[in-house]
Symmetry: C3
Subunit: 139 residues, 3 copies
């Protein structure tokens, strides 16, 4: 049994979903582990991870639109406003989605369904360089 | 240290929660691993996983009712409508719950609390055969 | 490769976020595992786990305020009311956040970002003693 640590850097261009499935797949192909468990962990509190449909880009746009409406900016509810009107909504959106995903690896591949892609979900208006830590254990 | 891969198939009958704790428990009992980590991963983007109270079935009905109201069908917000009025809401509901659950295994049992059950959460109107990949590592 | 099981007990004083990052850090420092995967699992269905910003306490208050408004008490939607007006909302809030978190451990430390803290999220009005199971695998 072995384990490998790595990290992915994803450059976002504002709110929305950024597919990095291929980056993970390429890294996994060279990792020398055929069966095991892959864990991805986003090292931020205003971005998150989500597995979503990768077939129709409208799904990603609609998911962003839903969260923008559910967690509006300029909400008088918030006290935490010094970092901008999009900062506290970003924390809420991150809390409602995932900080971490663990994906079994079997026969050298993640057990993703046909239409599942791995996305970084950016919750701030501005682009950011986001870091996702990766851990793989198996053999 | 060993690992085992498996999968569970759960037949849903439309929106709602489907308890498959017993299937997981039976499989675990025969897996020969007394201590470790069990990971469940749903291979779909319009169904998800959730751990919820298993005592009162009203909890499961109320959770379904809450999500149906929070993420309504026929919402003019959505562009992704070709797969039916319940498809995009299904993706949103999946994003707001969990794609994956990891549960420590100790003394041959999952460390679930007394009232915790493991549920597949179906988000489409129609019944589906859903696949949950399972990975167990331990000894 | 080794594994260790433990648990954390967190005493809440009603709805809100309770930081237990330091408890986890201290335990990890004595666990003798420098690289691996740490999994935390809350053994309740009316409390959950969340990773959030630890710099400004307003973030935690605002997150609580958002969920209190999103999932109101006294909601005529609910059938499950025998355990009090805050019980079903607690289950919904738990479903919308996380039951479990897995965090890679590298060079003897969790790979948390600078501003990331680990919180128990209490969803009931009354204080409770909450149990979080911990599992660490690595070497």
């Amino acid at each position: 049994m072995h384990q490998i640590h790595s990290q992915f850097e994803i450059r976002s261009r504002g709110k929305g979903l950024y597919d990095f499935t291929e980056e993970v797949r390429r890294w996994l192909a060279g990792a020398g582990i055929r069966a095991g468990l892959l864990t991805l962990f986003v090292r931020h509190t205003s971005a998150s991870l989500v597995i979503q449909e990768n077939a129709d880009p409208d799904v990603q746009r609609d998911l962003e639109a839903f969260l923008a409406r559910l967690v509006p900016e300029q909400d008088p509810l918030y006290s935490h406003i010094l970092e901008g009107p999009d900062d506290m909504p970003a924390h809420v959106r991150a809390a409602l989605t995932q900080t971490q995903l663990s994906i079994p690896v079997h026969d050298g591949r993640m057990v993703l369904g046909t239409w599942q892609g791995i996305y970084l979900f950016e919750h701030r208006r501005a682009g950011h360089l986001r870091t996702v830590a990766a851990h793989l254990i198996g053999e």
